[in-house]
């Protein structure tokens, strides 16, 4: 009997934790609003201790100005979902890399007109360009306009076939 009731309490707790996770995971990146923080891999963990929901996130770049907005949006989302007591914690280790981005996130990015990160982030070459496919026509004949784009996480590319200029979510 005792074992059963403990199990049901555990079930209840995990259901609550799952609900908190779902609320936090639905928050979107203010600069790429098609991606949720779960897609991006910015959301690391949601834990509940003594009734306080703690959401652990990690920045894509140390200077990413979206982090403050994301933290605020998480708190708002949790309060709306009925979790009045919550806090957001930022961790740096292990450092975020584009490898944390989910497959669903990559598909969404492409549909949004942004080329998803190509290959692994562990590239160390000093020169040379990555093979980036045009999100519009799929051609691999693209050229880098600038390694630095509209936000810290993006580079500027142009397609040589359909002539579309586009953002590339660069590997880091």
């Amino acid at each position: 009997m005792i074992a059963v009731s403990l199990t049901s309490i555990a079930c209840q707790q995990s259901a609550t934790a799952a609900r908190a996770w779902a609320a936090a995971a639905a928050v979107v990146d203010p600069e790429v609003p098609i991606l949720t923080i779960a897609d991006l891999g910015v959301l690391r963990e949601v834990r509940i201790t003594d009734g306080v929901v703690e959401v652990v996130i990690t920045p894509t770049y140390l200077g990413c100005p979206a982090m403050a907005v994301i933290a605020l949006d998480i708190e708002t989302a949790l309060v709306k979902a009925g979790f009045a007591r919550c806090k957001v914690t930022t961790v740096l280790s292990p450092p975020w890399t584009t490898d944390f981005m989910s497959e669903a996130g990559r598909v969404k990015l492409r549909s949004f007109g942004i080329a998803p990160p190509a290959g692994k982030a562990s590239r160390r070459a000093l020169f040379g360009e990555e093979r980036v496919e045009c999100p519009r026509c799929g051609s691999a004949q693209t050229t880098r306009v600038s390694e630095f784009g509209s936000t810290a996480c993006k580079a500027l590319y142009r397609c040589c076939v359909c002539a579309e200029p586009f953002d590339y979510f660069k590997c880091i």
């Binding site: 140390l62 200077g63 740096l92 280790s93 975020w96 020169f127 306009v145 390694e147 630095f148 500027l156």
Partner: protein, 272 residues
């Protein structure tokens, strides 16, 4: 090519932070040094916003500046926690006097022309990326976390600055002349990146800090390849500027701070 910067005969300050050390821990000073370097260079890059030669470069310089200011925020926030006297990143960035900053002189020099900006970025980011990669294995987990993140960002700065240094050095007569001039002028400021004193020695002993002289051979080798491809000559200076790390700055820092600190000085406590 001389290896003067690597030699152990590098000028080392006798008692750098005597005034500070009474209350300040070596880790606090070390974090200020790392954070202030990033803060000042980030500010210098931000001065290009709206003034770069082409739009893409305007974005690039602002992006790199943002990376550096992000790194500065992390280091200074942690410095404030280590100090534990209630100062946060803003208090440390905006409310210190010039003599309390611990950045190297290299990063406070005026931005100069585009060649000067790129060569400085190449020199700073090249060694700092290696330093951060080594610091990623620091026994101090917070410092290691910031460094691991920063190293990845700096890899982009190194590549960008190297590509521009080559394009400018191996470019027109005028761009070659100006890039060589920048290298000649900046080289004597690189020695300070390799200095260590009691602060670092203490932390190296605790496996928190890293001796930058160990990184020097690899850095010089990578740098020599870029300089050669850029058809530039590395100056053979043996004498190096020093002082920023112990708070002895050039007059440029005061002018920089008058802009950087303006808002908090004019409207104390102002918030977004």
């Amino acid at each position: 090519m001389t290896s003067a910067t690597c030699s152990s005969a590098l000028p080392r300050a006798a008692d750098p932070d005597a005034a500070l050390r009474g209350s300040a821990s070596p880790l606090f000073i070390y974090l200020l040094r790392l954070g202030d370097n990033a803060l000042m260079l980030g500010h210098r890059l931000s001065e290009w916003c709206g003034h770069a030669p082409v739009l893409e470069e305007d974005l690039a310089l602002a992006n790199m500046g943002l990376d550096l200011i992000g790194q500065a925020r992390s280091f200074l926030t942690y410095a404030g926690e280590v100090e534990a006297s209630g100062r946060d990143e803003d208090a440390l960035a905006y409310l210190r006097e010039a003599g309390e900053y611990r950045n190297i002189l290299l990063v406070e020099l005026p931005r100069g022309d585009f060649a000067f900006t790129m060569v400085r970025q190449l020199l700073y980011a090249g060694l700092t990326q290696r330093l951060f990669e080594a610091l990623a294995a620091s026994c101090d987990a917070t410092l290691a976390g910031i460094a691991a993140k920063g190293a990845k960002e700096l890899a982009y700065h190194v590549r960008h600055a190297a590509e521009w240094t080559i394009r400018l050095g191996d470019g027109s007569e005028d761009s070659h002349r100006r890039t060589q001039l920048a290298l000649d002028e900046l080289w004597p400021y690189t020695g300070e990146m390799l200095e260590i004193d009691e602060v670092e020695r203490t932390l190296i002993g605790q496996h928190i800090a890293v001796d930058p002289s160990h990184l020097c051979p690899g850095w010089e080798q990578a740098l020599a390849a870029v300089i050669a491809e850029a058809t530039l000559q590395r100056p053979a200076h043996t004498w190096m500027h020093s002082g920023g790390r112990i708070g002895r700055h050039s007059e440029h820092l005061g002018h920089l701070l008058s802009e950087l600190q303006y808002l908090q000085r004019a409207y104390p406590g102002a918030k977004w």
